[in-house]
Every structure is written in structure tokens, then in C-alpha cells.
């Protein structure tokens, strides 16, 4: 579906009356269903703010964000919490798993919040554990597993509600290159096989090269856009690096 998510002329200000910072400056774009979109930009360019706004973590100062026909900027707190529960999945750099629950229980909790019987929850949980290749560590606590495994668990948890949009904030930031590659391949698999819509914020060109489209932000505005189309990933990576070098952006570690 085209224009699955529509961001219309949004602005976000921080600070007090005397000292205002404009983090997002009249930004508009749309995401189609089944797209894997990357957001890149230097520190302070507004990429995490944009993700927070799309994730309903933060509210816009002006403008609208539509998920199909729902304007999330007009929803109440309780309605937002329902919206998040049924439509969004989150993956963060620091995994954000609950340390008192096992890997399996972290996923089960998210499923329990969705409702449904024990049998259905168990089945979905097993399917997700299998999909993310973490069945073997299902009984372990987050502090007992590696960063890559923890992030895959976060990914499984994010998929628990069959989300309209999967939001990932620097998901490979705390991972080594091998784990990063595994996770990104998982993302690609989810996107291509299950048709998941993914929006990933990253400053790492290597991670961004797995996306189908990249929006480059600068001072809260989109200043460039790259579309992978049918180009090989390595070629796309070079294009990203070219854009970054042109803008003096951050150079990646993984080339």
C-alpha cells in the first residue's frame, strides 16, 4: 500500500520560551507498506527525535502523522497506548529487555499484553524464538546471553504484536560486526519474507546499506534521499558513503 505512513509538515521544538531548539523543521515524507527505510544524519540532525515522534514516544509541536487513516497526533494517552500495543514494535541500541524475565518470558509478556489464550501465546512465542534462532537460550536471563542474542530477543519481542511498523533506533550500535550482520540479515528477511515495514535510525553506512530507501537528515530537514532499487548492496553502500563524504557526515566503521 502506498502512503502507508504519512508524515505531514511536522515540527518539534525543545526548550523554554527564552531558549528554543528546533529539532524537526517542517518535515514531510511517506512510507509505503513493506518498505525498509533508513534514517541517517549527523549527531543532532533530528533522526532520533523523528523516530520518537513516529513511535509516539514524543509528541509533535505541529503537523500530523497518519498511520493509514489514523492521525496519531490527535490521540489521547490511553488511545496512544492501545495504538502502540497493536501497531508498533521497538528495537533499541541497548536492547531494553526486562532483566527479571527470561528471554522467553520477555516475549511472552508482550504477547500476554496483546491478549489471547495460553495455547496461542505459546505457539506464537515458539514461532518467534524459532524465527530469530534463539530457542536454545529461551530459559536464560538477558545478562546471561550475548549482545547479538539479546538484540534478537528484542527483535522477537517487537514482532510479537505483528506490528504495522517496526522501529529500530541504532539497533547495531552495541553489537560486534558479526552480530550486526546477522541482525541486519534478519531484518531483511522479515522485510522480504513477511513484508514487515521497518524504519531504522542509524549513523552507520554499513547498516543503512541493507535498507531499501534512505532519508538523510540535516538540521531537522530532509536534505537528500537514496533509493536502492535493484542495485547490489555494495554499490548502494558506496552511494551512501559518497553522500556522507559530500556532507561531511560521520564515516562508518564497517566498510
Amino acid at each position: 500500500m502506498n502512503n502507508y505512513i504519512k508524515v505531514c509538515d511536522i515540527e518539534k521544538y525543545y526548550g523554554t520560551a527564552s531558549h528554543v531548539t528546533k529539532a524537526i523543521d517542517r518535515l514531510s515524507f511517506s512510507v509505503n507498506q513493506g518498505e525498509f527505510v533508513g534514517i541517517m544524519g549527523a549527531s543532532g540532525s533530528g533522526k532520533t527525535t523523528l523516530l520518537n515522534l513516529l513511535a509516539t514516544i514524543d509528541r509533535v509541536s505541529s503537523g500530523h502523522i497518519f498511520y493509514e487513516n489514523t492521525d496519531i497526533t490527535a490521540l489521547s494517552e490511553d488511545a496512544l497506548s492501545e495504538f502502540r500495543k497493536h501497531n508498533l514494535g521497538f528495537i533499541f541500541q541497548q536492547y531494553n529487555l526486562l532483566d527479571t524475565l527470561t528471554i522467553e518470558e520477555n516475549i511472552v509478556l508482550a504477547l500476554t499484553l496483546q491478549g489471547g489464550g495460553k495455547k496461542k501465546i505459546r505457539e506464537t512465542c515458539d514461532r518467534l524464538l524459532n524465527l530469530l534462532h534463539i530457542e536454545e537460550i529461551r530459559g536464560k536471563f538477558p545478562y546471561q546471553v550475548s549482545g547479538g542474542q539479546a538484540q534478537r530477543c528484542a527483535c522477537a519481542r517487537a514482532l510479537a504484536n505483528d506490528p504495522v511498523l517496526l522501529l529500530a533506533d541504532e539497533p547495531t550500535g552495541a553489537l560486534d560486526s558479526r552480530s550486526s550482520r546477522t541482525l541486519l540479515e534478519t531484518f531483511t528477511g522479515l522485510n522480504q519474507k513477511l513484508g514487515a515495514t521497518i524504519l531504522m535510525v542509524t549513523h552507520d553506512a554499513f547498516s543503512a546499506s541493507y535498507c531499501s530507501r534512505i532519508l538523510f537528515l540535516k538540521d531537522g530537514k530532509i536534505f537528500h534521499e537514496l533509493i536502492r532499487a535493484r542495485k547490489p548492496r555494495k554499490f548502494f553502500l558506496q552511494e551512501i558513503l559518497d553522500v556522507l563524504s559530500l556532507t561531511g557526515g560521520e564515516l562508518p566503521d564497517a566498510q
Partner: protein, 693 residues
């Protein structure tokens, strides 16, 4: 699933905040123990002070509930702050705020119930210990009787529940206000330290120190309520502003590049210390106030304890001593009654005499420190109008001087097992309370009394301070002993009966005597027609203050345990408050330190990479913790020290307890630091473990 999560979270909180859990268990144990005094106090029924103990325990409970609610509220907010990111995740997963609040409530109720159960178990044992101590103080036998009393359990549950409801209700409101963005960003915000106006703020420290100097210099001489109120307001402000000033002072010192920051790890230590004070300056002020109250509570309790240990025996030397305002009373009814109720070994009815003058009373009122120059003319001579007014309107001393014949005196001394004394025809002896001995040494030079002929030729032949029941029976404070022939020109003032009995007195003997003699004493004392007006004013209490106990019928065994019970009624709530305040305050301090240990791990890791050895890191942790622990404790010692030294002096002066005025405060400080040290050691060990984990 949510219940499972709540249970797991509770387990984690119990592990992370073990000190809090233990303190809550201790508080519930203390609550159970002291509440049992309201329901399971088998000794109470025998004593008049039963109601007093109950009222004071209830009053103490109100303070305890209040301070415990504060601790729970503080901890609930503190844990919430530390777990803000986790709550953010719950929100992201789609949990509603109400559900999160319910989850957190569940966790806290579980944690509270766990510590309550633990505490109640310990409380049942502690209650037995308290009862055993109370019974042994009362010289009664206590048989261990371990059982849960429904009244005590319900009261403890109510108190404990109250603390939780108050604090958790407030936390529910906090949940309503939170939003995901702030929760996820909270940790980062916590690390931001604002340093503004430090140059100005640093002057708060010398100002606070100056006020403390003034406090030490002027506390005893404050004369009116306004001055005292102003001083107390100043003191509260000082407690809070001191920490702002101290932190700013350290920061300014570091900025200036002071000499000491270049020694060892001082720079790191000073930065850590100033940061800690800055983030918890208000809490530190409150902790100082709690420490001050704890020290004061235990010091005052120790004062009463000292009185009980040293003066209770002194106050009642006779087995039984009965007063009658009628000097012709032969005590026949009483003797017949006592023959039935006890086994009398020896008895001696006698009279106290007076010459109708108040030469000795006037000497006392102009020479004892208690009165200062209140009854003196500007030239130092006695102001007889004022003295007469005092004697007629108040009962410190009898209206006229009190005398006793030498033979009666020696008979009574023999009953008490003291040596006989001798007096020549020109001598009198002064029998006085021990506490006044030093003040009346000049009596020999100053006070001449009339002999048998009425001429002022009797001089002091000796001062005796043996226990002699001088709170209204054998005079108030003093008794003049004269050769028997001098009594010929005096008239009997009131009558006394002293008895020596075999074995202990029955538990209710004094009450029975009070009942038997009620009409007789009251009719005679209140407007009895058969008594000469000259004999009125023959009842007095002496100059003791703070603890005054005057009984017409003295039965030593009964009074001793009655007074012990009354003192216990004062001491127990004071110790109760002191102990709980101390534990609450030191728990907050420990939890604050331990919660930082995870973050400090990185600091110490860096130091270790910079070449600091493990032993050096442990020393550094010790210094860091010691500074944070000592700061509020020392300030509290400084403040309460002055007040308690002053109160101790007053107490010793007013009651005559033969101990140094500073001893109460020293002992309570030792007790305080004993408990403090336990918490410090637990925190230090846990901190080191967390850092090296």
C-alpha cells in the same frame, strides 16, 4: 504473567535494597513488640502508670508511622526514579499507566508483606525479651509465653498498612503524570549536575558554622519564647543550608586548584563527595534532623534510666512509712491492718516537731542554687515577705521548720541499719538529701538555732545524707535533729509511722492503705476542724523537680515497681522513637550510596586502569563512604550535643543523679555510632562487592 513479573521484580528489589528490606523488617518487629505493650502487658494491671505507658506508646507510634511512611515514600520514589527506563519499556509495550501503577503497587505490597512477615517473626521473640526485661525491672517473674495476640497483630497490620497506603497513594499520582520520553531520558538527566552561583553559595557554609558557634554560646541563656523560636528556625535553616554551602565550597576549592586536590586521589574523592551532597542536600538535611532527634530521644531515656538505677533505692529506705497530718494520731487502725496483711518485724510511731519559725526554711531558700537570689534582698539578706508568701502558698517546704528529737532519729537510724549519732547540748545535726550536700556545707558557719532556752546557741554538729525519705515524710529536703530537751519548747507538727516487715510487701498493699486511710487523711488535710490552724501547711514535697513522687503512704516494694513502671513508660517510647528514627535515616543513607555503586564501578574501573591498586580502591571507597556517613552524623552530634549537655546539667541539678551531666549524651552517642557502624559495615561490604562484581 504480570503477577510473575511483580514477584520477580520484588525479588530483585529485595536483593538490590537489602538494607531497606532489613530496616522495614526491624521496624515491623519493633512495631509488633511495642504494640504488644497495649494488648499483652500482663504487668500493667498492677500499676497506676498503665494508662501513661499506653498513651505514650500510642503517641510514639504516631511518630513512627509518620517517619516510616516517609521512608517508604522516599524509597518508592527512589526506586521509581532508578527504574524509569524500565517503566518506559512497559509503556512502549503498550501497558497502560494504570496497569504499571498496579504492577508497582503489587511489587511494593509483596516487598512490604515479606518484610512484615519476617519482622513479625522476629517481633514475637523481641516482645518476649522486652517483657522479660520489664518484669525483671519490676522484680517480678516472667514465664516465656510465645504466642500471636490478635490485638497486637491487627494493630501492627494497621500501623504498617497506614504507612504503605499514604506513600503508595502519592506514588500513584506520580505515575499519572509520567510520559515515555521523560522516563527513557531520565537516566541521562540524572547525570547532569548543574553548578551555578557556587561562589555565592559557598558562603552559606561559614554562615552555618557561625550560627552553630552562636548556638553553642547562647543556647543556655535564651530567655523567652520568641528567642527560642527564632533560634530553632535558624537551626533548621542551618541544617539544610550547611550542605548547599559545603558542596559549593568544595567545588570552589577544586576550581581554584587548591593544594590538597593534587594529593593522592583527593580530586576524585572531593568531586564524588561534592556531587553526592549536591544531589541529596535536602535529604541530608532531613537525615541530620532525624539523627538529632534520635540522639536526643536516647539521651533523655538514659537520664531516666540513670535516675532509676541510682536514686530509686535512695528514695524509699523504709519498708513502710505512713504520714498523718494529725500529730496526735497513734496509727492504731493502720497497725492492726498491717499486722493482718504483713509480718511486722519492728514498728516505730514518731512525731515531727516545729518551733513555729522558719529560720531554716529561709536559710534554704536563700542558700540553695535552685532559688538563686530569688528570695534575697539586694543586700543579700533574706526577703522574709517573699519567703513567707512562698511557704504559705506552695508546698516545697512545710510552712514552718521541721525538727526531730535525737532519740527518735537514732531509733530510725537503727531501723535502717545506720550508726547512731551523738550530739552535745549545743549542737544540732542536719539530715539532708545527698544531692544538696555540697550546697549546704556553709551551714555550720551561717545557721545558729535556738536551744532549749530559746537562745541561738545551737550550731551544726554534723551533716548526714543517708537515705531518709525526705520528700515530705521526714521533712522536705532537710530535717533538723536536736537534743531531746530542745523539743520541750516545740510542738508536734505531724505524725509518722515507720515499719520494718519480714518478706516482701503484698503487691497491692499501698492501694489498700490508700483506701483505708483516704477519709482520715483527706478530712484532716482539707479543712478538718479538729486541727489547729498553726498545723496547716505541714505537708511538703521538697525541692526536687522533673521527677517528683510524693506519697502519703510509702510502701517501698510497691512504690519501687510503680516508679520503675512509670519510668519504663517514659523510656520505652523514647528508645523506640530514637531507634526507629536512626534506622530510617541510616537506611536512606545506605540505599543512596549502594544505588550509586553500579555507576561507581566504571569510575573505579578507570582508576584501576590508571594504576590504582585494589587495596587503594577499597581505601578510596572507605573514605568516600566515611565522608558521606560522617557528615550528617557529626552535624547531628554537634547540634544535639549542646542541647543534651544543657539538659543533662539541668537533670543532674534537679534530681541529684550522681553522674556526670555529659555521660547521658556520651552513652547515647556510643549507642548511636554502634548501630551506625553496623549499617556502615554492611554498606561498605556490599559497595565493595558491587564494584568488584
Amino acid at each position: 504473567m504480570l503477577s510473575k513479573l511483580a514477584f520477580r521484580n520484588m525479588k530483585r528489589s529485595a536483593r538490590d535494597y537489602l538494607v531497606y528490606l532489613l530496616t522495614m523488617s526491624l521496624i515491623s518487629a519493633l512495631m509488633y513488640t511495642f504494640n504488644s505493650l497495649l494488648f499483652q502487658n500482663e504487668a500493667g494491671k498492677y500499676y497506676d502508670a498503665e494508662d501513661m505507658l499506653e498513651v505514650l506508646v500510642v503517641l510514639a507510634t504516631v511518630f513512627i508511622v509518620w517517619i516510616t511512611a516517609w521512608l517508604i515514600g522516599y524509597m518508592v520514589r527512589f526506586m521509581m526514579g532508578k527504574r524509569s527506563r524500565e517503566f518506559g519499556i512497559y509503556l512502549l509495550l503498550g501497558m497502560k499507566k494504570g496497569t504499571i501503577a498496579k504492577l508497582y503497587l503489587q511489587e511494593n505490597i509483596l516487598l512490604g508483606s515479606f518484610s512484615l512477615l519476617l519482622g513479625m517473626g522476629f517481633g514475637i521473640l523481641l516482645q518476649q525479651i522486652l517483657m522479660a526485661i520489664l518484669f525483671s525491672m519490676l522484680r517480678m517473674t516472667y514465664h516465656l509465653h510465645i504466642a500471636l495476640h490478635p490485638g497486637t497483630v491487627i494493630m501492627t497490620l494497621l500501623c504498617y498498612g497506614c504507612c504503605f497506603i499514604v506513600s503508595l497513594f502519592r506514588c500513584r499520582r506520580k505515575f499519572k503524570k509520567m510520559n515515555i520520553h521523560d522516563l527513557l531520558e531520565a537516566e541521562r538527566r540524572n547525570e547532569q549536575i548543574g553548578e551555578k552561583h557556587e561562589t555565592l553559595k559557598q558562603f552559606l557554609m561559614p554562615l552555618s558554622i557561625l550560627f552553630l558557634f552562636l548556638f553553642w554560646a547562647l543556647f543556655g541563656v535564651l530567655s523567652n519564647d520568641i528567642q527560642i523560636c527564632l533560634f530553632l528556625i535558624g537551626l533548621v535553616l542551618t541544617i539544610y543550608l550547611f550542605y548547599i554551602g559545603l558542596s559549593a565550597r568544595i567545588i570552589c576549592y577544586i576550581r581554584k586548584g587548591g593544594k590538597r586536590i593534587y594529593r593522592g586521589q583527593n580530586l576524585f574523592l572531593l568531586r564524588q563527595f561534592s556531587g553526592k551532597i549536591r544531589t541529596m542536600q535536602f535529604t541530608l538535611g532531613t537525615l541530620t534532623a532525624l539523627f538529632t532527634l534520635a540522639l536526643m530521644g536516647s539521651s533523655i531515656a538514659l537520664m531516666f534510666s540513670a535516675w532509676q538505677n541510682s536514686l530509686l533505692e535512695y528514695k524509699f529506705p523504709f519498708d513502710i512509712l505512713l504520714y498523718s497530718p494529725d500529730p496526735t494520731d497513734d496509727f492504731q487502725d493502720e497497725i492492726q491492718f498491717l499486722e493482718k496483711r504483713t509480718e511486722i518485724q519492728d514498728l516505730f510511731p514518731y512525731r515531727i516537731y516545729t518551733d513555729g519559725g522558719n529560720r531554716v526554711n529561709a536559710w534554704m531558700l536563700t542558700h540553695l542554687q535552685a532559688w538563686g537570689t530569688m528570695f534575697q534582698n539586694p543586700d543579700g539578706t533574706p526577703d522574709m515577705d517573699k519567703i513567707r508568701q512562698k511557704l504559705e502558698n506552695e508546698s516545697v517546704y512545710c510552712t514552718y521548720d521541721t525538727y526531730m528529737g535525737l532519740s527518735d532519729y537514732n531509733t530510725l537510724r537503727a531501723m535502717l541499719g545506720y550508726e547512731e549519732i551523738n550530739l552535745s547540748d549545743t549542737e544540732y545535726a542536719l539530715q539532708i538529701k545527698l544531692r544538696l550536700e555540697k550546697e549546704v556545707r556553709s551551714v555550720g558557719d551561717d545557721l545558729k538555732l535556738a536551744d532549749a532556752d530559746g537562745s541561738l546557741s545551737l550550731s551544726c554538729g554534723g551533716i548526714y545524707t543517708d537515705p531518709f525519705s525526705q520528700d515530705g515524710h521526714n521533712g522536705g529536703d532537710y530535717l533538723i535533729v536536736v537534743p531531746d530537751q530542745v523539743l520541750a519548747r516545740m510542738y508536734p507538727y505531724y505524725a509518722e509511722l515507720a515499719l520494718d516487715i519480714n518478706g516482701p510487701a503484698p503487691l497491692t498493699l499501698r492501694e489498700e492503705l490508700n483506701e483505708l486511710r483516704y477519709d482520715k487523711i483527706n478530712d484532716t488535710m482539707i479543712g478538718g476542724t479538729d486541727i489547729s490552724p498553726a498545723l496547716k501547711g505541714n505537708r511538703c514535697y521538697g525541692s526536687d523537680t522533673i521527677l517528683v513522687f510524693n506519697a502519703v503512704n510509702e510502701v517501698r516494694e510497691n512504690l519501687r515497681s510503680s516508679l520503675t513502671y512509670m519510668l519504663a513508660a517514659l523510656m520505652i517510647p523514647l528508645f523506640y522513637i530514637g531507634l526507629v528514627f536512626l534506622c530510617v535515616a541510616v537506611t536512606v543513607l545506605s540505599v543512596q550510596q549502594l544505588s550509586d555503586s553500579a555507576r561507581c564501578r566504571y569510575h573505579y574501573d578507570i582508576l584501576s586502569r590508571l594504576g590504582v591498586k585494589e587495596s587503594g580502591i577499597h581505601r578510596l571507597i572507605l573514605r568516600q563512604l566515611a565522608a558521606c556517613y560522617l557528615c550528617p552524623a557529626l552535624l547531628a552530634v554537634l547540634i544535639s550535643g549542646k542541647m543534651m549537655l544543657f539538659a543533662g546539667k539541668l537533670f543532674v541539678f534537679a534530681t541529684g543523679v550522681p553522674v556526670s551531666p555529659g555521660s547521658f549524651f556520651l552513652k547515647s552517642t556510643a549507642l548511636f555510632f554502634g548501630i551506625y557502624l553496623v549499617y556502615f559495615a554492611v554498606t561498605f561490604i556490599s559497595f565493595c562487592r558491587n564494584v568488584s562484581r
